[in-house]
């Protein structure tokens, strides 16, 4: 649902009822009243009794009734970010900096992966884990590197769990992650509109709007999405504190997550963590709309291909060979 459409719907409702209250604020008022009784507290989606009437409970309460990120005004975005920062302090005694940096105009991110250069050192994977606050307990990884037989180009034929000295003679290495499709099937599968494509081409998830149904995971033909079965467990000194609302902030339990091209970095002009970590320079990242960018050079001068191109998903992730 586009914000415009919602606005008109709200306007109509208001005209008809002659009131300024929306369904959401009505529900909020209703539940606030209900919260006074212990019955509502037992439902589980409401803060526990021992947090009641504390600052933490108030914040969590407001968080529970916030809008989808796409429908928020800038003020509402700033407010929720401030609440999340404060909650991180109250709940986990952590100082984090969450931002809501908007997309940069005239930018469409694209990614290229050199299968000739990658030697399977997997430093991109560790870089990604660290940057994106991924769960260390279940060893969640957004990137996978496959050791491939020559002549094969489908990663499902490769070995994704190798652990021996690399590179191995007569093998090549191929990395996969979320391809940020221009025509992304995952966004269409989501029943709550919790995942969408941003104007700069990044497919993001609103973790607070995701209900964890995993339809998007089923819809993705590239196995690009990961489901968390619990809040990420990270050693305290390894937490990346510079976070983004749609990116590497510490996800609540039971949410869908995935590569966001390190939205917290790229929207500030920095390279994604995997590109920065790559020791062989196999990863190229840049602005597809800029004719002088590295990614456009690759598309123009190299032999490129995309995985499962025939599906029409239009991934913004190309493989190329030297």
């Amino acid at each position: 649902m586009s914000p415009k459409k919602t606005d008109t719907t709200t306007a109509i409702t208001e005209n008809v009822l002659g009131k300024t209250s929306s369904r959401r604020s009505f529900m909020k008022g209703l539940s606030l009243a209900a919260a006074a009784g212990s019955a509502a507290l037992a439902t589980g989606c409401i803060p526990s009794a021992n947090a009641a009437s504390s600052e933490q409970m108030k914040l969590r309460w407001k968080e529970f009734f916030k809008k989808n990120y796409r429908l928020m005004s800038q003020q509402e975005k700033d407010d929720t970010v401030a609440r999340l920062e404060r909650l991180a302090k109250l709940q986990d005694n952590m100082y984090v900096q969450i931002n809501n940096e908007p997309p940069i105009e005239k930018v469409l991110y694209g990614y290229a992966f050199n299968i000739t250069r990658c030697e399977g050192f997997m430093e991109c994977v560790t870089g990604c884990i660290k940057e994106n606050n991924l769960d260390r307990k279940t060893n969640t990884q957004y990137i996978r590197i496959f050791e491939m037989e020559p002549g094969k180009l489908d990663p499902s034929t490769g070995d994704g769990t190798y652990f021996h000295k690399v590179p191995v003679e007569n093998k090549f290495y191929m990395g996969t992650q979320c391809f940020h499709c221009e025509n992304a099937p995952c966004t269409k599968a989501c029943p709550t509109k919790a995942t969408w494509k941003e104007p700069d081409g990044i497919v993001v998830v609103d973790y607070d709007w995701c209900i964890g149904c995993r339809y998007c995971q089923a819809a993705c033909p590239y196995y690009g999405r990961r489901f968390n079965w619990g809040k990420p467990e990270i050693p305290r000194d390894e937490i990346t504190v510079k976070q983004h609302y749609l990116g590497n902030r510490i996800r609540p339990k039971g949410k869908m997550e995935k590569c966001t091209f390190c939205i917290q970095r790229t929207r500030k002009g920095r390279l994604p963590a995997c590109v920065e970590a790559c020791p062989t320079g196999a990863r190229v990242f840049g602005n597809l709309l800029d004719p002088d960018s590295e990614i456009r050079y690759v598309l123009k001068h190299k032999k490129v291909f995309r995985m499962k191109d025939d599906l029409g998903t239009e991934p913004k992730f190309w493989y190329f060979i030297d």
Binding site: G160, R270, R283, S293, H301
Partner: protein
């Protein structure tokens, strides 16, 4: 006049179906190529200095002596990274004492560069007289910070890709003033191939 429907007109029955099929395939092709066409047709240079938060890189850089498709760019400087630079502080006319021999010869340098049987020697790249410089096959003096000029004389394909952006990588930012890694930032010029080693981590099966 009444038109007789005869057997040889039968294929005409499929004509509407055929047009429909052709028409559909035509539109689907158009929508598929839309995105890539948008990318190809955007030829307006992006103002790389317009992005907020981009800071100059911390590492020492030099202005490259060559251009890429977007104009001039910078490369990471090398001289400060070389352990014993400046070379002429040892390479003088003074005699070397035997007791310093162990320390002063480059015994730690192992050359694994060039094809087997015809490995490169020191003065294939280093200047035979002026030790603070490199020398290419045309006899031009090359600064250590601009070693890409030397490497590019054999590895011209890699250099072309490096200039364009398909080889090597940028430092820290995808936008802002372009700063790229120098050849020798990643490759040890004495044995440029990356060494075999264990990967940084491992993956568990997805399913």
């Amino acid at each position: 006049m009444k038109i007789q429907f005869t057997h040889y007109m039968r294929p005409l029955l499929f004509l509407p179906v055929l047009t429909l099929v052709l028409g559909m395939s035509g539109t689907s092709e158009a929508s598929e190529s839309l995105f890539i066409d948008l990318v190809k047709s955007s030829d307006e240079s992006f103002d790389n200095r317009s992005v907020n938060h981009v800071q100059p890189v911390i590492e020492k850089t030099v202005l490259a002596k060559e251009q890429y498709q977007g104009g001039s760019f910078r490369v990471l400087a090398r001289k400060d990274e070389i352990e014993r630079f400046k070379c002429t502080s040892c390479h003088t006319d003074k005699n070397v004492l035997v007791k310093n021999g162990q320390e002063l010869t480059h015994g730690n340098v192992v050359i694994d560069h060039g094809q087997e049987g015809s490995e490169l020697g020191c003065i294939d790249c280093h200047h035979p007289e002026d030790r603070d410089f490199l020398e290419d096959k045309k006899g031009r003096k090359i600064d250590y910070d601009h070693s890409y000029q030397l490497c590019g004389q054999c590895h011209f394909r890699q250099k072309r890709d490096w200039l364009g952006g398909a080889h090597g990588k940028r430092v820290q930012y995808w936008t802002g003033d372009r700063v790229v890694y120098n050849c020798a930032t990643c490759h040890d010029p004495h044995s440029p191939r990356f060494k075999e080693r264990f990967p940084a981590t491992y993956s568990v099966p997805l399913k």
